[in-house]
Amino acid sequence: MEENRPPRTAKEAAQHQQDMSRRKFLKNSGVLAGGLVGGSLFGGLITNRFDKKDEKKVVNKKEHEAMSMEARQFFTRAHDFDVLSAATEQILPEDEHGPGAIKLGVPYYIDKQLAGRWGINGRDYRHSPYAVKLEDNDKSAGTAGEQSILDRGDLFLLGLRSLDDESQKRFSTAFDSATEDQQIELLTDFENDKVAMRGVQASEFFNLLLQSTLEGAYSDPQYGGNRNMEGWKMKEFPGAQASYAGYIEQDEFQKLEPVSLRDYQGH
C-alpha cells in the first residue's frame, strides 16, 4: 500500500508520525461508528494525505513565481497597490526570521479580501444614522470606523492616498519611494492620529491595515497570503493538523511541519 511506504521528506515524516498517532488513537478509542461524524475521521484524513502525488514537494523558485502570477481584483490603480505593499512591509518586514509581508503575499491577500463581502462590510449592520463624530467623553462608544459610513474598501483607498499625500507634503516623494525611516514616521503618525483624515480618524485606517497585514501573513494560504505557509513556519504554528491526541501530554516542544487546508481536504 502506498501509505505504507517510508516517508521521503522531512515534512512527510512529520505527517507520517502524526498519522500514526491518529491511527493509534482511533484504534485505542474504537471510535463510535454510530456517532454523527462526518467524513474526516474515516474517509478523508487518514488516506488522502498520501494519495496525492507530488503535493508535498518543496515549492521551487519557478513555482513561486507562478503563485505570484496574480492580478488585482480590487485596486484599480497600480500606485495604490504599491503604497499598500510598502506599508504592509513596514508592518511586517522581511528579516533574518523570514519573509516580510510582500513575500508572504499580504498585499494580494488584502486586495482579494477587499473585493469580497468583507470589503463592503457585507455582514455588518449598515443602517443610518452614522455617528462619525463621537463625543470626546465617550471614547468607549465603539470606534469611528465601526460607526463610519465608509466601507472597508473606501477606507483603504482613502487611507492609502492620505498616506501618499502626506509623504508628498513632507518629503516630496511618493510613500513607496520614501526611505524606511520616512515610511515609519508616517505610519507612526497615522497610528497616533497625528494626521487628519476625512470621515474617520487616521488610527482607524492604521488599525485596519495592521489587522489585515497579520491576517494575510498568518491565515491559510488559500486566501492568497502566508505563501508556502512561510508565515506559519516562522511562528512554529503547524496549521490544520488533524489531531494532537498523541502529543498533548508531552513536555517536549513539538516542531511539526505545517498542514494547509488544501492538504487537509485533499483535493
Binding site: S29, Q90, R123, P129, A141, A240, Y244
Partner: protein, 584 residues
C-alpha cells in the same frame, strides 16, 4: 398579509441548547413541535475541516449576521445608543444548534450562593453590605432543587470532569473522567496548590472518551485539535445540540426545524399566547404558526426584544424601578469580568500552545461566589481564576511583552519569539445587577425587517471594578508562582466603562425568574406569570451573573422548564404551584 398555518402543540424560537432541550423532551412525550430558526440548516457534516482561523474566528462564519439584526448599546441612561455594527463586537448564535455549535465547552455548575444571593448576603453580612444601586434578588429556587436537572444536563452532554474539592454537593459523579493533563495545566495546578488554593480540572463538554448519552446519542472522544472555540467540531467530539437533543427530537418524527424563519413577535389575546409570527427570509412572506404553548428560546436579546415588541409584561423603567421586562441585564464583559488577568512570558520554556481544546484547563474556586469572607472587601460575589489550553492560533495571537511596539521589526522578532512562550490566566468574575443596567427598545434603529432594535444600557458600578481588580491581582500572584520571567498584567482603571462588546455570549436578564410575580417575569419553570402558556427559557431568566460560564446552568433550567411545559400541556395553569403541591 400574514399567512396562518395549522396549529401544533408547541412552537419554539431558536434551535440552541434551550430550544433543543425543550424540543427533545416534548417530542419524546409525543407532542408535535416546530422550531423556528433564523439561521441556516447545519449538520455535523458542515463542520468537517473547519480549521480555518480567518473564516471562523475573524469573519465569524457561524455567528449572527448583523446585517439582518443587531442591538444598540450605551453606557448610561443619558446617552444615545449606537448600533453594534460588526461581529468583532458581537458573537451570537445563528444557525441550527445556535451558539452551542461554537462554544468552548467549559461546563461549570453555579454555586448554592448564586440562587439565594440576597438572603445569604443579608444572613452573613447584614443588609448594609448590599450596595445602594444593586438590584440583586433570590431566584426562588435553591441549588438542591436544581441539582437533579444539573445532573440530567451533564449526562445529556457527557461532561468530562473531576470532583471539585470545594465544590457544591453532587448526586452523582461526572459521566466522563477529566480530559488529559497537560504540562501547562500541571504548572498551574502546582502553583495554585503551593499557594494554598484548591485547583481542579475544568469540567468540559469536549469528551475525554467515547460516550453514549441516556438518549442513545453518541459523542466521540476529543483529539485536542484546538479548533473548538468559534468552530463546529470536526470530529463530533464536542457536545452540541445538533448531535444530542436535536437529534433525539428528530428521531421521534415529531420535530420540524424550519430554517430561515425570523420570528418577529408573539401573537396573543392578552391572556394566552396564540403562536409566533415570523418572516421566511428566503421569500419575504410572513407567517403565523399557532400552537398550544409558545417557547422563547432565542437567547437573552431576542427573548427580551420579542416580549417588548409583542407588548407582553410591563417594561422596566430605570428611573422609577417599576416594571420587569428588560430588568437586571448582566454579563461577562470583556474589559471587566473576563479576558482580564496576567500574561506571563517565559524565556527558558517553550510550550505546545497550539494544541488544546475548548474546555481544557484547571481552575480554582477559593474566591468564587461567597467562598471568600467578604466582610472586609469592597465588593460582593467573586471570581474564578483559570488557565485554559484552548489552542492558540496565529492571527489572533501576537502577544509581546509590554513596551514592545505593535508593528515593525522589533514586533516581528518578539511576537515570533513568544508565540509559544507565553501563558495567560484569567479571573472570570461575577457581575451584580444594578438599576441602570437593563434593556429596552431603541427609539431610532430598526432591523432589516423593520422591527425596533433592542437597546442595551450597561453601567459598571464601583463594586464590579473592585472585584475585577482583586481578580487581576490574584492572577498576577499565581503567574509569578508559575515562574514567568515577565508579565503583562491587565490594568483595571477606576473609571473603566462598558466597551460595547457583546463578545462572550454570557449574558443574562430581561425576563428574570423568581417566586413572586411582583419581582419576576417567570417562575422557576420559566413560565410567564402573565401568560401561562408562554415559556421564556435561557439566560434571560437569570437574575444575575455568576463567575462561571453559564451553559450548564442554562441547560439545567431548560430541563426544568421542559418539565413545566409537559405539566402545563397535561394540566394547564401555573405549574410552579401545581408541582409544589405535588412535591409537598
Amino acid at each position: 398579509m400574514v399567512k396562518k398555518l395549522e396549529k401544533v402543540d408547541a412552537v419554539i424560537v431558536g434551535s440552541g441548547w434551550t430550544g433543543g432541550i425543550a424540543a427533545a423532551e416534548l417530542t419524546k412525550a409525543g407532542y408535535k413541535v416546530v422550531i423556528l430558526e433564523r439561521g441556516q440548516d447545519k449538520k455535523h457534516e458542515d463542520f468537517v475541516g473547519t480549521k480555518d482561523e480567518l473564516r471562523y474566528s475573524k469573519r465569524y462564519d457561524l455567528m449572527q449576521d448583523l446585517s439582518k439584526t443587531t442591538m444598540t448599546s450605551r453606557n448610561s441612561i443619558n446617552k444615545e445608543a449606537i448600533p453594534v455594527r460588526n461581529n468583532s463586537n458581537a458573537r451570537l448564535g445563528n444557525h441550527t444548534g445556535g451558539a452551542g455549535n461554537h462554544w468552548n465547552g467549559m461546563a461549570f455548575r453555579w454555586l448554592p450562593y448564586d440562587f439565594e444571593i440576597y438572603s445569604k448576603t443579608v444572613e452573613r453580612y447584614g443588609k448594609d453590605k448590599i450596595p445602594k444601586e444593586s438590584t440583586m434578588q433570590d431566584w426562588g429556587i435553591t441549588y438542591d432543587e436544581l441539582e437533579p436537572y444539573y445532573d440530567q444536563y451533564e449526562k445529556t452532554a457527557g461532561i468530562s470532569g473531576e470532583e471539585n474539592p470545594i465544590g457544591p454537593p453532587r448526586s452523582d459523579k461526572y459521566p466522563n473522567p477529566p480530559m488529559k493533563d497537560t504540562p501547562t495545566i500541571k504548572l498551574f495546578s502546582k502553583a495554585t496548590k503551593e499557594l494554598g488554593y484548591h485547583p481542579y480540572r475544568i469540567p468540559s463538554a469536549n469528551m475525554s472518551q467515547n460516550y453514549e448519552n441516556p438518549d442513545g446519542e453518541k459523542i466521540n472522544g476529543c483529539v485536542y485539535c484546538a479548533f473548538c472555540e468559534e468552530y463546529g467540531c470536526d470530529f463530533g467530539a464536542k457536545a452540541d445540540p445538533i448531535g444530542t437533543v436535536l437529534s433525539t427530537a428528530s428521531k421521534t418524527g415529531n420535530l420540524e426545524i424550519r430554517n430561515s424563519a425570523n420570528v418577529n413577535r408573539v401573537s396573543h389575546d392578552g391572556k394566552k399566547a396564540t403562536g409566533l409570527v415570523y418572516t421566511d427570509i428566503t421569500t419575504g412572506q410572513e407567517f403565523e404558526q399557532p400552537a398550544d404553548i409558545v417557547v422563547l428560546a432565542g437567547f437573552v436579546f431576542t427573548n427580551t426584544q420579542l416580549l417588548l415588541t409583542s407588548k407582553i409584561g410591563q417594561p422596566y423603567n430605570p428611573k422609577t424601578g417599576q416594571g420587569i421586562i428588560g430588568k437586571n441585564f448582566t454579563g461577562h464583559f470583556n474589559n471587566l469580568s473576563t479576558y482580564i488577568g496576567a500574561r506571563g512570558f517565559f524565556e527558558e520554556k517553550k510550550f505546545n500552545n497550539f494544541m488544546g481544546t475548548g474546555g481544557l484547563g484547571a481552575s480554582i474556586d477559593d474566591f468564587s461566589g461567597d467562598n471568600e469572607d467578604h466582610t472586609n472587601l469592597d465588593y460582593l460575589h467573586g471570581y474564578e481564576v483559570h488557565y485554559s489550553q484552548l489552542g492558540t492560533r496565529p492571527i489572533a495571537h501576537n502577544e509581546v511583552p509590554e513596551g514592545t511596539p505593535r508593528w515593525g521589526k522589533e514586533f516581528k522578532k518578539q511576537s515570533l519569539k513568544y508565540f509559544n512562550r507565553n501563558l495567560f490566566i484569567t479571573a472570570q468574575s461575577g457581575f451584580l445587577p444594578n438599576k441602570e443596567t437593563y434593556m429596552d427598545l431603541d427609539p431610532t434603529y430598526k432591523d432589516a425587517l423593520g422591527n425596533p432594535l433592542l437597546r442595551v444600557t450597561v453601567t459598571y458600578s464601583q463594586q464590579d471594578r473592585n472585584r475585577a481588580k482583586a481578580g487581576v491581582a490574584r492572577c498576577e500572584e499565581i503567574m509569578k508562582q508559575m515562574g514567568a520571567d515577565s508579565m503583562n498584567v491587565t490594568e483595571v482603571k477606576d473609571d473603566i466603562e462598558f466597551d460595547h462588546k457583546f463578545y462572550t455570549d454570557h449574558f443574562f436578564g430581561g425576563a428574570i425568574m423568581g417566586a413572586d410575580p411582583a419581582t419576576s417575569a417567570v417562575n422557576t419553570y420559566s413560565q410567564m406569570w402573565d401568560m401561562d402558556n408562554l415559556f421564556v427559557v435561557g439566560g434571560s431568566s437569570f437574575p444575575h451573573n455568576s463567575n462561571y460560564n453559564p451553559t450548564v446552568t442554562i441547560g439545567a433550567f431548560a430541563y426544568r422548564a421542559a418539565e413545566g411545559m409537559l405539566t402545563y400541556l397535561k394540566e394547564g395553569g401555573n405549574v410552579a404551584e401545581k408541582l409544589l403541591e405535588k412535591n409537598a
